[in-house]
Amino acid sequence: MEQKDLISFQNVYYAYEEEAEEPAYALKNVTFSVKEGEFLFILGHNGSGKSTVAKLANGLLLPTSGVVTVDGADTKDENAQMDVRKKVGVVFQNPDNQIVASIVEEDVAFGPENLCLPREEIRARVDEALRSVDMTEKRHAETYRLSGGQKQRVAIAGVIAMRPKCIVFDEPTAMLDPKGRRAVLHTIRDLNTRFGITVILITHFMEEAAQADRILVLNDAEIALEGRPREVFSEYELLLSCGLELPDTAKLGKALQESGVPFPDGILSPDEFLEAYMRLRKDH
């Protein structure tokens, strides 16, 4: 069955200073859509417009021209605004800026409380949200004592408690140590595969993007490339010109080719790399 579009951007332009004589566009003629249940990565250099996409996707910003729809509703429609924000949650880079309460479960309860839900419903949502990010044990902990990765998972739980259909993650691992990164990525993948939440993940780490369903590459406010990881990472020159690079595994494969080894193209995951290398050893 054809999956339906959850979020769609149609010819979207966005200028931060609309009134200026020559407005500088953060997004120019951007058209794409995200299907329900999809895991979409957005890559692009600093200032390419990625974060603007995140803010447009849940109505924090409204397009200068063009249309953004969430589950069929135009984000410009004031009557739909509350619904749009409930359906699309956003998690930002710095966990410290997103924690509002001093105790973990109080922080997660902040959103549902603002929805004026009954007490039992809030309790149930908080418990479920903490379980889904594997932070149940820390529910009574003080937020400031948590590690960066734990704080980020609490911030994610706060968004999950709103029961969104889609979560946009704007560089959620940029400030984390390796363990924090692993834990947060694992949580995000889990939300997608086990709970069916649609995910848009913005990142500067190419390794993370190698596991995407689909990748969108932004360059200077426009879409430069769109496709499956294998397609996108085969456009090496174009990626470089967009300020990006290959995942480490693919870089190593390319370095091997350059040193004269007949290493196959299109190797992205470490497992594929191992297979390809073992095959080469056998052949020679």
Binding site: G44, H45, N46, G47, S48, Q93, S147, G148, G149, E171, A174, M175, L176, D177, P178, K179, G180, R181, H204, M206, E207, L240, G243, L244, E245, D248, T249, K251, L252, A255, L256, E258, S259, G260, V261, P270, F273, L274, Y277, M278, L280, R281, H284
Partner: protein
């Protein structure tokens, strides 16, 4: 005599409250002139507290910080001087840009040192050249720069003080791949051309492997490991336990070894490519 010598320093927050934490516990190490040292450790391991104690911002509760053999916390004057001698560049330094033009922003430090206008001008030009900020950007507002350029402008402000040692706290966090590469090659050039001493705090094991002569590993406020990248990254289990990792290239080599392929260790892209291609050629394989 080492350029910087840290002897048994400790620091805690919130003493006499239920929230007391010992952020840095009895740390000692030394840095020689011209060395590039990377500090790695999980978030909250005490890295940032340690950095602030090295440049006169935070006085250790016990122990000493010696710069060229002199205790920087002797008195207020020596502590103030240390802020110029040890250039500390915080995380996300571009948030601290404030002046109307890049040139004025870079000049802020040298101005506070009481230097002459000519000397300040000279240093601004030199510092922007070192970080690779184009000269035509000097009269532009720092807020009109790209993310990577903003970061380099902020770092130029510290380099313009011509510190004896440059400390960079997570200099590539939040930057795109090209921006990361620019910062790392800038550090390389700065060291090569000027023999500079650099201390860099990073969460990227690949960065630590690629640029450091030596790596210090912090865990729970203590300095637990110190050694060459080879020595540190051979302790993969200990690193994983501390919330850290080994470089991605080293992981591939390890995975191949566990499948019975005999390969020497490698931690950087260049070394891993060489080791892997030798692994195929060896034994008349290719």
């Amino acid at each position: 005599m080492p350029l910087l010598e840290v002897q048994n320093i400790s620091f805690g927050y919130g003493h006499h409250t239920p929230f007391e934490v010992q952020a840095v516990k009895d740390i000692s190490f030394a840095i020689e002139k011209g060395e590039c040292v990377a500090v790695i450790g999980h978030t909250g391991s005490g890295k940032s507290t340690l950095m602030q104690m090295l440049n006169g911002l935070l006085k250790p509760e016990s122990g000493q910080v010696l710069l060229n053999g002199e205790n920087i916390y002797q008195n207020k004057k020596t502590a103030a001087k240390a802020r110029f001698q040890v250039g500390l560049c915080f995380q996300y330094p571009e948030y601290q840009l404030f002046a109307e033009t890049c040139a004025e922003d870079i000049a802020f430090g040298p101005k506070n040192m009481g230097l002459s206008p000519e000397e300040i001008r000279k240093r601004v030009l030199l510092a922007s050249e070192i970080v690779g900020l184009p000269a035509d950007k000097l009269d532009v507002s720092p807020f009109d720069l790209s993310g990577g350029q903003k970061r380099r402008c902020a770092i130029a402000g510290v380099i313009a003080m011509q510190p004896e040692i440059l400390i960079l706290d997570e200099p590539t966090a939040g930057l795109d791949p090209a921006g990361r590469e620019e910062i790392l090659s800038m550090i390389g050039r700065y060291r090569k051309d000027r023999g500079a001493t650099v201390l860099i705090v990073t969460h990227s094991m690949e960065t630590a492997a690629a640029i450091a002569d030596r790596i210090l590993v912090m865990n729970g406020g203590r300095l637990v490991l110190s050694g060459s990248p080879e020595e540190i990254f051979s302790e993969s289990e200990a690193l994983l336990e501390m919330g850290l990792d080994i470089p991605s290239f080293a992981r591939i080599i390890l995975a191949l070894r566990s499948r019975g392929v005999e390969l020497p260790s490698a931690y950087t892209l260049k070394d891993a490519a060489r080791v892997l291609s030798d692994g195929l050629r060896g034994g008349g394989r290719l």
